[in-house]
Amino acid sequence: MANELSVDVRKRHAGGPEITAALRLPLGMHSVMVLFGPSGAGKTTVLRLIAGLDTPDSGSIRCGDEVWYDGARATSRINMAPQHRRVGYLSQDYALFPHLTVRGNVAYGAHGWAVDGLLARFGLSELADRHPRQLSGGQLQRVALARALAAHPRLLLLDEPLSALDAPTRLRMRGDLRQLLAGVQMPAIVVTHDRTEALALGDSIAIMIDGKLRQAGAVESVFDCPVDADVAAAVGVETICPARVVWRSAGLVTVEIAHARLVAVDIGDPSTDVFACIRAESVTIERNPSGNPTSARNHLPARIVSVIPEGPLARVTLDCGFRLNAIVTRQSEEEMRLREGELVTAVVKATSIRIVPRG
């Protein structure tokens, strides 16, 4: 049997949507899988099913050569207790024991680990005699991680590990957490609904929407090549427009959106009803068409609908017959004096437009 965690489960909570998930995670090496999706997509449920805190309705969960759950035979269903699965499960608010000190918490389930060594490694030696209520959010998280590792897990499950922290701490802990996970050399599944967290923490990613696992793969490939419009929206593609294919040739496809025509790279799907997905950062705005030939295939006359500053950047909404979102630096915005109602040209490379089938 392959040394991997393989999950293929179905679960319906009373009154909720059915949750189905099939995923694989290699064991015995450090790799972080991010379970990503909007709130209420069923991510936490999947984590709880793996940990054994909830029971699937059907399916199977295997870890290496152990069967954790097998619902194939109704009479002799296998369902291993969470105590025997050896997963390090971190719930959203860390769930530290309030009646125990930091040392007491870390030592709680310790198995052959020197607790003092673990405290030192996580920078907790000074805090060993404090109670959880005396710690900051970032410290609580380190205690929870140390406590989980002390029990010698073979897999870490982290549910929204950064959501309980305030914004500045969250930013700092994002990097720290990545290092800590890499430092312990343990496979981990991290649930998050935050794109930047997903990018910062994950080696691979699985996208969950409405209880279904929709796409899984390397983080970059999923973010760059979403398989459908829902996934594209989940990974934050700003412009997703229904379009119709009017022309296909030589690996390129021409689609029509309203009255505008766009050239994109053909992904080989035969549908004519498609969505065109365009990230805001791959749209360039030009003031005066220079007439010089450029490598970009698409030059669209556009009217500026709105300009909204966002820190060092500005989000520009264009009307090219359809709504197109662009993002530029504040500097370019000021130099070009982009104002509402003005006419400009939107430039998009064919390779920056992702065509996905509709329906």
């Binding site: 940990a51 054994g52 719930s91 769930a95 024991f97 309030p98 989980a148 002390a150 029990a151």
Partner: protein, 226 residues
């Protein structure tokens, strides 16, 4: 004043509380965490002494532990004695009579323990039983103390059940509340007043302590974030 009766009442309350601690903790754990459909029936049975007249309860207990009942015969075979009109019989009756006063506070304490803490313990490889003693009980101390105090106080003041099961034997089954009744019957109002006042004082102190605990005046461990 009947010091003998007071001593007997205190002894009865002490042992009743101790036995209720031993029975009540597992019972409350089962009532809190079991997912059996017929759990509500057990809950109703445990709560029965709250609404049943003590005479009714006492009558059934008397029948149940009488010399011709299975329990009575077993007890006689084991010890050679009889349960009715003995201290041991009184103890059995008191335990049953005060059961809800121990189990209900215990159960409400257990139910208030954050489920995530219990699950965290399971995921750390700690068995359900060990989790009960290492997480649930320590976090329910105020509720457990409340339940013990209430059991103690309730046993101290019981009258009807004691009269039915134990009768009125000085030094064996004559508790303080029965001695007050005796004093009044004998028109010894002075003795009755002294004993009553003492019982009133003890009861008030016990309840004040309980409500103090409830308000978390003496919270053993303040919750997170305070």
């Amino acid at each position: 004043m009947e010091w003998q009766a007071l001593y007997l009442s205190l002894r009865l309350s002490f042992w009743t509380t101790l036995i209720l601690l031993a029975i009540g903790l597992p019972a409350a754990h089962w009532l809190t965490f079991s997912r059996r459909r017929w759990k509500f029936l057990v809950e109703a049975v445990v709560a029965l002494p709250l609404v049943l007249p003590p005479t009714v309860l006492g009558f059934y207990i008397l029948l149940a532990i009488g010399p011709h009942s299975p329990v009575g015969r077993l007890y006689a075979a084991l010890t050679g004695g009889m349960l009715p009109f003995s201290f041991q019989g009184l103890l059995v009756a008191s335990v049953l009579y005060s059961l809800p006063f121990a189990v209900q506070p215990f159960a409400s304490g257990f139910a208030a323990v954050d489920r995530k803490l219990i699950e965290a313990s399971w995921c750390l490889g700690i068995s359900r039983a060990a989790t009960f003693f290492r997480v649930i009980v320590p976090l329910s101390i105020p509720s457990i103390v409340t339940g013990m105090i209430l059991s103690f106080a309730h046993t101290l003041g019981e009258f009807g059940v004691v009269l039915m099961v134990g009768g009125n034997l000085a030094g064996i089954t004559r508790t303080v509340s029965i001695s007050i009744y005796d004093d009044v019957q004998a028109l010894d109002y002075r003795a009755a007043m002294h004993t009553s006042l003492l019982l009133l004082g003890i009861s008030f102190l016990v309840l004040a302590a309980t409500y103090g605990l409830r308000r978390r005046v003496w919270a053993v461990w303040p919750p997170y974030g305070e």
